[in-house]
């Protein structure tokens, strides 16, 4: 299975980068965006930090094993948390 590296872009103008040296094994390129969004959602929901003021301004810059850019996934792409199963009164 191919390995992808999820570098975290943050800070003003996304000028800062937390380099992912370890990566995650995924089934293929189609799994990259869902994985990035899942991790982003968890960071937004649960991770307290003084380093990132607003998670929604962050992005994952994803590279492959050869170091080539695969895609950039902005955290803002996460949809509102009402998708999937929440009870919505009519």
């Amino acid at each position: 299975m191919p390995r992808y590296y999820f570098h975290l872009r943050h800070g003003s103008n996304l000028s800062r980068r937390a380099v992912d040296e370890e990566g995650d094994e995924l089934s293929g390129p189609e799994a990259v965006r869902p994985h990035a969004l899942k991790v982003a959602r968890d960071l937004i929901d649960r991770t307290r930090t003084d380093i990132v003021r607003d998670w929604f301004t962050c992005a994952f810059e994803v590279t492959d094993e050869a170091g080539r850019s695969v895609m950039t996934v902005p955290f803002a792409e996460i949809v509102e948390p009402d998708e999937g199963g929440h009870f919505m009164p009519d």
Partner: protein, 237 residues
């Protein structure tokens, strides 16, 4: 087999025992290697042996639908298996495995319980040790509820540092992610911040602590109280 001399052991509990209590336990202590990943206690399996840690670190983890997270840490200050066995049960719903390779002195559960039943001073010391585990885990609950990832990471690194010789820790971010219950990106981010302020130096799979006091500052009071309580209860300082 030759038994280790009390002055030669590294385990702080064994060192804190009266010479008499130690002499009673010594014939039952078996030195063993503790390789990385070794299971010391399996979830809900009978605890046949306890381990006085001499070097290395054992993690207590909880496993659930949302993943595995560390909920306790035992190194040379402690005894793996103490809380179930000393409090009168033979199993515990948590995994205990070697997180950093080392060595230990193994003792059969029955032998330790018999020694404890025979000595009020030993009972007092070991139950005080269980209290220090409770204090540690309550602190963890507190930290996990309200502290930032960088403070939690700083505390965790300090706790590891207390349990190793030197200032270097061999750790993958993936592993830290599991230990702290945070996405790997969050760990990387926090490590980068600690590195940026000169408190650590990070290399692939390796963290060198450069400024211990600086880490204590970052932990923002998260580190220290349980460690002081251990010193007070076990070592009388």
């Amino acid at each position: 087999m030759s038994q280790p001399d009390q002055a030669a052991v590294s385990n702080r509990l064994l060192r804190a025992m009266s010479a008499e209590d130690y002499a009673g336990l010594a014939p039952h202590l078996v030195p063993i290697e503790l390789p990385l990943g070794e299971k010391l206690i399996d979830i809900n399996a009978p605890v046949s042996h306890l381990h006085f840690m001499e070097a290395g670190i054992s993690s207590i983890t909880t496993d659930g639908a949302n993943g595995k997270v560390e909920v306790g840490m035992v190194g040379r200050e402690g005894l793996v298996g103490a809380s179930p066995v000393l409090l009168g049960t033979d199993r515990v719903p948590h995994d205990h495995f070697v997180q950093m390779a080392g060595e230990g002195l193994r003792i059969e559960a029955g032998a330790l319980v018999a020694a404890m039943d025979a000595s009020t001073t030993l009972r007092r010391l070991l139950l005080r040790y269980v209290q220090t585990e409770i204090v540690q885990v309550r602190q963890t609950a507190y930290i996990n509820a309200i502290y930032s990832i960088e403070a939690r990471l700083a505390r965790w690194l300090l706790m590891c540092l207390d349990r190793v010789d030197g200032n270097e820790l061999a750790l993958k971010h993936e592993f830290l992610s599991m230990m702290l219950g945070v996405q790997r990106s969050g760990v990387t981010l926090a490590l980068q911040a600690l590195e940026g302020s000169g408190r650590i130096r990070g290399r692939r799979m390796r963290i060198v602590v450069l400024d211990r006091e600086g880490l204590e500052e970052v932990s923002n009071g998260g580190y220290g109280a349980p460690e002081a309580e251990y010193a007070r209860l076990i070592e009388g300082t």
